[in-house]
Subunit: 214 residues, 2 copies
DNA sequence: AAAGAAAGTGAGTAACCACTCAATTTATAA
DNA sequence: TTATAAATTGAGTGGTTACTCACTTTCTTT
């Protein structure tokens, strides 16, 4: 069970990522493929060992438990996912004099590429998030807090410029969160898409900015 | 594995829903609670039997396999979910002279109530949909086809009245699908909400109709 | 009340599960 | 080269799983 808090999970027991054996890497790769395809609990360690062409014992020598193997492939993803969700935005906005629409496009293209590169791990993450109450309770508030605190400034900035509707930042955040998370989860997890076209990105941007009413 | 097509699954091997034993109903109820909470593959038939206060053999007498038990609780939900997604809309729109905004409100409140009533089965359905490629390949096109064909008329109607942006009905359908499915899945599956407030419904309607740009 | 059918039981089973461990191979360092 | 450490192996273990089946109980019909 994943019950240690996020910071512990990130900093903690994991060995430094540099010192990986060839077999260790094959184990991780195979686990990612199989977990994404069939789900964590429908994948046996025997299957992973077979695919990685490794003895089952090797998995447990390195990762101790199956749960810890899951954590070992989730943590690097989260370590990239969580901070970038807040930091890279700042650059995209503050350095350039982009419009809200341009800001949205940068954000969506950036996250689109990231999720595409990490498609399988993203799938594993969402699928596990749905089942594991404790993981949900640890991570969601963290993600929301982390994203909110910095995005709020961005939103208020655009409101001052008159590019955004004059409603509480909270409302705008919630709305953006619903639409954007819905967009990525439906595409990458539900529909299992291998790519996202620019047109599709333009389409939700149009919705977010203009709505579909007349 | 669920590989028969949808119509077979709906019409097929299932016994008529009327002739259920008390114990049969307790089995279904328990399975719904446990599958929703811990997921299908993390729930054992022994657990279900224990919760339903029934011998394990009884489950298999009636349902044959665990997979078929899953189907038996999913099918009534789908039988209600699929047609209503198309029929009830017609009434909400055609009989009343409602605005697009009113139409959306009716639609969202109606589906909100339905998903709330069937919260657990909806969760099970989405969770299984994510994993089972064949179920996804059978159902999603069916749902999309079924919803699209009738909603297209509604959309064109509102476009004629000048209440909707003048873009292809396909675009509007896709957009509505993304936002609405994202809304319900995030609330009922990811966040595990027990209710949806009217304000929240008004909020996405505002987004859908106006966007958040200025 | 008798008989047949249907519902319900629970101990038993083979397959599978995550995980262990003593033994072996390979890499590292002196 | 030799000693020590680290990586790898795979047969083995106890526990769990979905499912079976011979049997008993309850319902239905005449």
């Amino acid at each position: 069970m994943i019950d240690k808090n996020l910071l512990n999970a990130l900093a903690g027991t994991m060995q430094p990522s540099g010192k990986k054996t060839v077999k260790q890497e094959r184990i991780i790769e195979s686990a990612i493929i199989l977990f994404a395809e069939k789900g964590y609990s429908n994948t046996s360690t025997a299957e992973i060992a077979k695919m990685a062409e490794v003895a089952e014992g090797t998995i447990f020598k390195h990762y101790g438990t199956k749960e810890n193997l899951l954590l070992s492939l989730l943590v690097p993803f989260l370590r990239d996912f969580l901070p970038v969700m807040a930091d890279e935005l700042m650059d995209d906005l503050m350095t350039q004099e982009t419009s809200f629409q341009g800001f949205l496009k940068n954000l969506l293209k950036n996250r689109s590429e990231f999720f595409l590169e990490n498609r399988e791990v993203f799938q594993i993450f969402i699928k596990e998030l749905i089942y594991k109450e404790n993981l949900k309770n640890e991570l969601l508030p963290y993600i929301i807090e982390n994203g909110s605190s910095r995005l709020t400034k961005v939103i208020e900035n655009f409101q001052k410029r008159g590019e955004l509707v004059n409603k509480p930042a909270e409302f705008i955040l919630k709305t953006l969160g619903t639409v954007i998370s819905g967009f990525f989860i439906s595409r990458f997890v539900l529909l299992n898409r291998q790519s996202i076209s620019d047109e599709e990105i333009d389409e939700i941007i149009f919705l977010i900015v203009n709505g579909i009413g007349q």
